[in-house]
């Protein structure tokens, strides 16, 4: 198991390097001159002399390869430079906001799991009857609803009409319910149908048939044979949902004035604050990649076939 984890960890190195190259090149190949943004945000008139000086300060006058390695070296020490707006280190800002985003994303993931599991099991159990039809209708509605619109509908109902939930900012548990649900809805619906589909698939396998022949109780079959095996693909899917949830959190943070990194990123886009954007995307991608690594390990832990296959033939 340890060997498997180390192997998977090592595959992350080239992947994250490739990611850093893409991020760096996209910024350099983009139509905007960072030196120009730097001057504009510092309220310095963009004369030729000022531009040359800004380029020298930002290191833009050196060859691209040198720039990349210098940038990478600093990025590995979590130094992403200073914000063009506040002139303070970008990493400090983002690390300040990151816990709030992780809190929101974490609650969203818990909602996704906590709601999709019982709903998916119900739909499979009552296949073809009304709970199943209802869950299908909900799934169609859920994946077609824009999260920001759902957020508004919830604000109108729970804040404006009923006055139950606060509309903005960080606070107690009541503050996180609406943003987290608007983020979770899509993954929740997809997951619910995935669980249902897997469970129905499992009920038609031979081991379930054999268990029935042996006279094993139906409840035990559901828990022991059907559910256990149907959750394995769900773990992998959850890794992918985390990407959607991190993206969705940006929108929710803007609507609910949630002090997270996504909201900070959106303001950085309007300001053309490039160091913030770089730090944000690398931070989010690293979190996403680590989550996927975690689900892979979890997957190997619960499915011995996967672990053996990986140890036998090497990874990839």
């Amino acid at each position: 198991m340890l060997k498997f984890i180390i192997k998977r960890l090592l595959t992350l190195v080239p992947l994250l390097l490739a990611v850093s190259v893409v991020v760096f090149l996209l910024l350099r190949l983009g139509p905007n001159d960072p030196a120009m943004s730097y001057l504009r945000l510092s309220n310095i008139p963009p004369t030729d002399a000022a531009l040359a000086e800004a380029r020298a300060t930002l290191g833009l006058d050196r060859p691209v390869a040198v720039q990349y390695f210098a940038w990478l070296g600093r990025a590995l020490r979590l130094d992403f430079g200073i914000s063009y707006v506040t002139k303070a280190p970008v990493t400090d800002h983002l690390l300040h906001y990151l816990p709030n985003t992780l809190y929101l994303a974490g609650v969203s993931i818990l909602m996704t799991i906590g709601l999709s599991l019982p709903l998916g099991i119900m739909a499979a159990r009552y296949q073809g009857r009304w709970p199943d039809h209802l869950s299908r209708a909900l799934a169609y509605i859920g994946v077609s609803t824009p999260s920001f619109w759902l957020a508004f509908l919830m604000i109108m109902l729970f804040s404006v009409k009923l006055g139950w939930l606060p509309t903005r900012g960080l606070g107690g548990l009541s503050h996180v319910i609406m943003p987290a649900f608007s983020v979770a809805l899509m993954s929740l619906c997809i997951n619910m149908r995935l669980i249902r589909g897997n469970m129905l698939e499992q009920t038609h396998t031979r081991q379930v048939l054999y268990a029935r022949i042996r006279g094993v109780k139906e409840g035990y079959i559901t828990r022991g044979h059907v559910l256990k095996n149907s959750l394995i693909p769900v773990v992998t899917a959850l890794g992918m949902h985390i990407g959607e949830i991190l993206g969705g959190a940006v929108v929710a943070e803007v609507i609910f004035a949630w002090p997270g990194v996504g909201r900070y990123m959106v303001s950085a886009i309007f300001n053309r604050d490039f160091p913030v954007m770089q730090c944000f995307i690398l931070m989010m991608t690293t979190i996403f990649v680590l989550c996927n690594l975690f689900t892979d390990i979890l997957y190997a832990a619960i499915d011995p076939r996967m672990r053996l296959a990986n140890e036998g033939s090497g990874n990839d």
Binding site: L15, L16, A18, V19, V22, V23, L26, L27, G30, N32, Q127, R136, A139, Y140, I141, V143, S144, T145, P146, F148, W149, F152, L153, M156, V160, M186, I190, R193, L194, R196, G197, L200, E201, H204, T236, M240, I242, G243, E244, L246, G247, G248, V250, V251, M265, V266, I269, F270, R272, F274, M277, F280, I281, M284, T285, F288, V289, N292, T295, D296
Partner: protein, 295 residues
Amino acid sequence: MTDTGLTGNDSLILPPLAGPGRRATARKAALALSALVLAGLIGMAIFAPLAAPYDPMEINLEERLAPISSRHWLGTDHLGRDVLSRLIWGARASMGSVVVIAGLIMATGFITGAFSGYIGGRTDSVIMRVCEAFMTFPTFILALFLIGVLGTGLTNVILAIVLTHWAWYARIIRGMVMNLKNRDFILAARVAGGGPVKIFLRHIAPPVLAQLVILASLDLGHMMLHVSGLSFLGLGIQPPTPEWGCMINDARQQIWTNPELAIIPGVMIFLTVLAFNIPGDILRDKLDPTLVERE
């Protein structure tokens, strides 16, 4: 990295709607309804100048936030612009951008994927490494970064969504091409004296393109949500041009007094995405033989 094939809503596994009787009828009804909605929306987009009762950008401060009336069927917004006219014109930006995005993703995905799969060797591994790098990012996060780099505006939103999705398509197309490449009928064509370009154009491209169109149609709803989400953040189409996501953003200040200004454009996005998703799911069920066994 785990490979789940396509992006986001692709993993929505809906049950097979196979079997005769009520289900088939329900499926036909759902398909017909989706087709009707889509036809209506496309009609709105094409005939917007004729269908809209007012100029969607005409500001009339004397009539701002007017209620629903015979003059303004859906009322007016905070600048006195006719909501119905803006909705109709908004179809143009929303539907138009989705069509352009789908076309561009198909083109880039097909060219890189087919090139990679057909030529193979080192070219293939270089292209695939690039694809993997792009697929490592969470899509919406990468799209945000790209807009940051390129600047805001509808063109850049379209570019950003294409750049975040092409790699998934390229990978799938490469697989299809590689699978076809080693079939006996390709060998036969080569024995018969067909050159590589001719074989590709006559025997490989047509079936791959057919599958590609189906793949892209499954993703239209997802793309629509991406475009409207980015427009909602104010990163897409710039005011005063009407677009649905943008209209919801405009209505944020009026949420306490005129909630319908945010509700109505949302209904449009929702209906469009639903009308894209329903035929997509039915199509997927029809095409995936493994799903039928679950019934």
